[in-house]
Amino acid sequence: MDDYITRVVFRYVLLFILLYGLYIILHGHVSPGGGFAGGMVIGMGLLLYFLLFGLEWRAKLRRLPMDVALVFIGLGGILEAVKFLLPHEHGPVGMPGTLFSVGIISVVNFGIGLLVASTILSIFYLLVEED
């Protein structure tokens, strides 16, 4: 994409997009949102980044995000499987309504976030590579 304004603005906005996604993931149990929504935000931000800058990378580097995404899909999946194997009271249970209050569910949310963000990236890359 050759839009100059988009590139300049997006370079500064990207960090805030990622931070917002992380915020949604971490506060998934005290406010609307959660792993899926936050992962979607992070994935869309990264996707926009690679759409704007990634296609002019060297051919060797261009496959790199796809590889990293594959690894993170595995990590996220393993973290998510925790919720089925461990009882739900596992981990620190503090005051309801605060950030650290749900034990293992935060970890699972984080795993879902990783999974969704990297899935979006890898789907994008698989579709782009077909050209």
Binding site: D67, L70, I73, G74, G77, F84, L85, H88
Partner: protein, 494 residues
């Protein structure tokens, strides 16, 4: 003990975890993937054997995911039916994986093999999930994953025909699961539960208040699962998809994937709605009518196909008709025969598709008319093929005869003896399209009728022999398994 309690869940989660790790290997070390798959399927097979022994000891296994008790959480429930299906699924998949180690090298492009095994494991895991789950929404999710995995197994070949067939399969499967999800929504709105026994208990009280909703829900379930299980007028995706897939995928799709939908249909009709609703509504006559059409129509369509795998695919449509016939009869013998046919048809179709794949592997022949003299070039493969086709026709001492006998008893039990005529006619039709192949292979002499041994690898030959022996065993000693299935069907029809 931690692992012993978690065993029913480990069954599924091991494979799903491996599916997350497998893309990593598929990208960098594709050589490892087949062996990793073999090891996993062996582990799962051992676990399901252990679970079957626990169930056979009189225990009914309940497992609550994440320790949430049933009305809130997902419940995994293994009774005799589920244990039988688990054993069938994992055992057949073990054979198919061994077969596909060598067979895939000629049928799909090299870089795709690692991804193929990922999809294969995903399909296996979610099929087991459909069989063991007790939660309606979880059933929907698993059904959707099976659709995606099965379409992936078809599209892996990367040819024009298979790509096109897989798109049609995906569209119709998604349409079907949309109908199913809507039906689940209706049930949830009326009963406020998703767990099947709780839904059934609520339905007993409220079903007279909402007669139209019951009709709508039943028809939505029938259409939604019927598309996926290839009930006759909804089967149009099946022949293309099953015949253009690589032969290990055809074996999985034809032998196992369509069956698990029928299992969940049985559960929903008989356990959730109950046999009274099934008898009162239009559903029973509809299923009997569609099954009759499937048996006749599938056989007639199969008769005119020249491509071997297409002929086998249409034969699947007809055989699914048998299972629905047993289900629609709604008597103990009928349902027993349907359950038995699920097992025996899985064995027969896997054997037939694997033999077709072996013939393609050695000689590259696909058409039926090119089979002349093949009985001398590939004696073992063609012997297995002959056994399976004899069983399909329903010759005594082979597995297929037992189900036909059971269906005949069931139709007498339901005061509907016309179906015996249907069964005999369909046996003749089966003979009309299976025996020409066998005749071609053995009795039309090629140029040099000297005996040679099969030149296909050992790992492909052994699964074919095992399935053929299984068919003969089912035909000779059906007593114990019939008793067992009778118990299961009595419990279903209660």
């Amino acid at each position: 003990m931690f692992l012993w309690d978690k065993l029913p869940f480990l069954l599924i989660i091991i494979i799903l975890l491996l599916c997350f790790v497998m893309p990593f290997f598929a990208r960098w070390k594709p050589v490892v993937c087949p062996y990793l798959t073999v090891v996993t399927v062996i582990i799962v097979f051992v676990i399901s054997v252990v679970l079957t022994f626990r169930v056979a000891g009189g225990e009914v296994i309940h497992y609550h995911a994440g320790d949430w008790p049933p009305p809130w959480g997902i419940e995994i429930f293994i009774d005799e039916l589920a244990a039988m299906m688990l054993l069938l699924l994992t055992g057949s998949c073990l054979l198919i994986v061994f077969y596909s180690l060598k067979a895939l090298t000629k049928e799909i492009p090299g870089p795709a093999i690692g991804w193929y095994y990922t999809l294969f494991l995903l399909t296996l895991a979610s099929m087991m999930g459909i069989v063991v789950t007790n939660d309606l929404f979880n059933l929907y999710v698993m059904v959707e994953i099976v659709s995606i995995g099965a379409v992936g197994l078809v599209v892996a070949k990367g040819e024009k025909l298979s790509t096109e067939a897989s798109l049609r399969y995906l569209m119709l499967a998604t349409l079907g699961s949309g109908f199913m999800l809507f039906a689940i929504g209706f049930l949830y709105q009326v009963t406020g539960n998703l767990n099947m026994p709780y839904v059934a208990a609520e339905l007993l009280e409220v079903r007279d208040q909402y007669p139209f909703l019951m009709w709508a829900t039943l028809s939505f379930f029938t259409v939604g699962l019927g598309v996926k299980a290839a009930l006759f007028p909804l089967h149009i995706w099946l022949p293309d998809a099953h015949s253009s897939a690589p032969s290990p995928s055809s074996a999985v799709l034809s032998g196992l994937v369509v069956k698990v939908y029928i299992i969940s249909m049985l559960r929903i009709y008989f356990l959730v709605f109950g046999i009274e609703v099934f008898n009162e509504t239009f559903l029973r006559s509809l299923i009997l009518l569609l099954a009759t059409m499937a048996i006749l129509g599938g056989s007639l369509f199969a008769f005119v196909q020249l491509d071997l795998k297409r002929r086998l695919a249409y034969s699947t449509v007809a055989q699914i008709g048998y299972i629905f016939l047993g289900m629609g009869l709604g008597t103990v013998w009928g349902v027993t025969a349907a359950l038995l046919h699920i097992i025996i048809h899985a064995l027969m179709k896997i054997c037939l598709f694997m033999s077709a794949g072996a013939v393609y592997y050695q000689t590259g022949r696909k058409k039926v008319i090119h089979f002349s003299g093949l009985g001398y070039q590939m004696p073992v493969t063609m012997a297995a093929f002959t056994i399976a086709s004899l069983s399909m026709v329903g010759i005594p001492f082979f597995g297929g005869f037992i189900t036909k006998y059971g269906l005949a008893l069931g139709s007498l039990e339901a005061n509907n003896p016309y179906f015996i005529v249907l069964i005999v006619v369909s046996g003749l039709l089966n003979a009309a399209y299976y025996f020409p192949i066998v005749w071609q292979a053995y009795f039309t002499s090629g140029h040099d009728p000297q005996m040679t041994m099969d030149k296909v690898p050992f790992t492909m030959l052994v699964p074919i022999i095992i399935t053929a022996l299984g068919i003969i065993y089912m035909g000779l000693f059906p007593g114990r398994i019939l008793e067992f299935l009778e118990q299961v069907s009595i419990r279903l029809l209660l």
